[in-house]
């Protein structure tokens, strides 16, 4: 695939979709400010209520959703590449649950949502990632892709149940994190983003560093060694990047499943299997998917909002079924 095809088949369509959902995210909501009033704010006019709603509520949640989408899309693509498994996804494998559990644990021990930094979530994601990959023995090349997902589902279930127990036992923690544990970008402001930005940027930097060698690992470890790469080190760097990205995303928006599955799946359909191309497209499609889910979450239960985590699951679960039922899983 040449650079030209990557641009025309991937970057342009994905960029157009992202632009559309960004406008939709600014224009629509569960409240009284409709598209007409919101769009007039965007062109410089609008009444005071509309201006407040757009600039103080919708712009911050849109920006946070973009950051979360980039993090989860890239994390999914990296995880799938490292585990050579098209079903590997931070939500399904329990990394998001691990990050959430770590945050809840620290809050139950006396912290508050405002003071728990993203590093807690990063550590939680990293530990969960190591546990699930060890459980499914990721290096065995003949491994059944579904087995890793089963190990992840077990870990997710365990962590989710333990998180629930912590919340049941401790009313204060429950009040602090109730909305957060189901996943949301509503009510997030730009200070949320500032808090997780270092982890996010570090994760992205590591992803860029590892991308070329990861692409070579797709040809098998022996070929990659022959080309001068060090597979173990590359996998370690990529997993570290995944932990930073999932930690940042979970700290900002709570655990969101399926985004890391849907986004790389769509990106590969557009530009093929080369991880370097996939990662580029994921930085556009990730935000598009999270924003789309967020917009839907505002519209389906008006005047209330549905939880974002519920909507990503509703979008993602059919894609999971689709991938598993495909005549054969794509080899990565």
């Amino acid at each position: 695939m040449t650079f030209r095809t990557v641009v025309f088949r991937g970057l342009l369509p994905a960029g157009a979709v992202l632009a559309l959902v960004v406008v939709a995210s600014l224009a629509v909501g569960a409240g009284p400010v409709g598209p007409a009033r919101a769009l007039s704010v965007l062109v410089g006019g609008g009444d005071a209520e509309a201006r407040f709603t757009v600039t103080r509520l919708r712009v911050p949640r849109t920006v946070v959703a973009i950051a979360v989408g980039i993090a989860l899309g890239i994390a999914g693509a990296l995880l799938q590449s490292v585990s050579r498994n098209p079903l590997a996804e931070p939500g399904l494998l329990g990394l998001s649950a691990g990050a959430a559990f770590a945050v809840v644990l620290v809050i139950a021990a006396g912290g508050s949502v405002a003071t728990v930094g993203p590093h807690v979530a990063v550590i939680g994601a990293a530990v969960a990632g190591l546990l699930v990959l060890a459980a499914a023995r990721m290096r065995g090349t003949g491994d059944d892709p579904v087995r890793l997902v089963l190990a992840g589902a077990a870990l997710s279930g365990l962590l989710g149940a333990t998180t629930s127990v912590l919340l049941l036992l401790d009313q204060r923690t429950a009040d602090e994190v109730r909305f957060w544990t189901v996943g949301a970008v509503a009510g997030r402001d730009l200070s949320t983003l500032a808090g997780v930005a270092p982890a996010l940027l570090l994760g992205l930097l590591l992803a860029v560093v590892a991308s070329r060698a990861l692409a070579a690992l797709a040809l098998g470890d022996d070929v990659a060694i022959g080309l001068g790469h060090r597979p173990r080190r590359v996998r370690a760097i990529a997993m570290l990047a995944v932990a930073f990205l999932v930690g940042a995303a979970t700290a900002a928006a709570g655990p969101l499943a399926f985004v890391g599955l849907v986004v790389p799946f769509a990106a590969r359909a557009l530009v093929g299997p080369d991880i370097r191309h996939t990662l580029g497209i994921c930085t556009l499609l990730g935000p598009a998917v999270v924003l789309l889910a967020d917009v839907v979450s505002r519209l389906v239960a008006r005047p209330y909002e549905m939880s974002l985590g519920v909507v990503t699951a509703l979008i993602g679960a059919p894609v999971l079924v689709l991938v598993v039922r495909a005549s054969r899983l794509p080899s990565l």
């Binding site: 695939m1 070579a216 040809l219 022996d222 060694i225 022959g226 001068g228 299997p273």
Partner: protein, 263 residues
């Protein structure tokens, strides 16, 4: 002259040594073929030569320098490897694959260059796959696909090339296609080491033959000098008549039957 040597090389999978204390010299600029029965350690030896498998003892020397002490990227600029039955992700085109061969010459700060593009074009031409450059690998025949993989190793532009059973699972025409390509690499001054199963094609392509049994060299030299019924019996337990190939003069092994087992 030799570029690649082993000295007391011991290679092991898990705890079992497969190669134990092997001394071997691989002549520069020639085609060396490693032959031997199943499980004799041919592929293990090649993995050791390519530093995919670290030595348990002894060393592999490249121009007199121990491979294990060199940076892996430096080795990759001097030794190219095509492992057995390598697989590529779905949808990867021939040109995409061959471009990977340039990885050892690139880095974070030294990205794709004109020299890389020229090396890729030259490799595509040398392997005779320039017409297939934009085709996905999974749409090619076995022989075409194997030539595409060899083109990747050619693009790596290394003085030493290691190929593990490049003709396995190929029909006769495709085998000759690949072996001719191997000969042309040596004709351009590269040192080629390959593992082959078929004795007659080994004799045809090799300048230098190395026969392994249980990780030990039992014969080494020009095919015409080392291949005889005694060697065939020792390697495979097969009685045979060895005759010269009517056109090339290289030895051809005509099996008669299994040798009587003695002790």
């Amino acid at each position: 002259m030799t570029v690649l040597q082993t000295r007391s090389l011991t290679l092991a999978h898990a705890r079992t040594p497969v190669i134990d204390g092997l001394d071997l010299d691989l002549p520069a600029g020639q085609v060396t073929v490693i032959i031997g029965p199943n499980g004799c350690g041919k592929s293990t030896l090649l993995s050791g030569l390519a530093r995919v498998l670290a030595p348990r003892g002894g060393s592999v020397l490249l121009d007199g320098c121990a491979l294990a002490t060199m940076p892996t990227r430096e080795v990759a600029r001097r030794v190219g490897l095509l492992p057995q039955s390598a697989v590529a992700p779905d949808g990867l085109t021939v040109r995409d694959l061959v471009r990977y061969g340039r990885h050892p010459h690139q880095g974070l700060l030294r990205q794709w260059s004109r020299a890389d593009a020229e090396a890729v074009d030259a490799a595509l031409a040398a392997a005779g796959v320039e017409d297939l450059a934009e085709r996905p690998l999974d749409t090619l025949s076995g022989g075409q696909r194997q030539r595409a993989w060899i083109a990747m190793v050619v693009a790596q532009d290394t003085p030493v090339v290691l190929l593990d059973e490049p003709t396995s699972a190929l029909d006769l025409g495709h085998q000759i296609e690949v072996l001719d390509l191997v000969r042309s690499l040596a004709a351009r001054g590269r040192t080629v080491v390959l593992v082959l199963h078929d004795l007659s094609s080994a004799c045809r392509v090799a300048d230098h033959l190395v026969a392994l049994v249980d990780g030990q060299v039992v014969a080494a030299g020009a095919p015409g000098a080392v291949v005889n019924p005694g060697l065939v019996r020792r390697l495979y337990g097969v009685e045979s008549v060895v005759v010269p190939d009517p056109t090339h003069g290289t030895p051809v092994v005509c099996p008669v039957g299994l040798a009587a087992r003695t002790g």
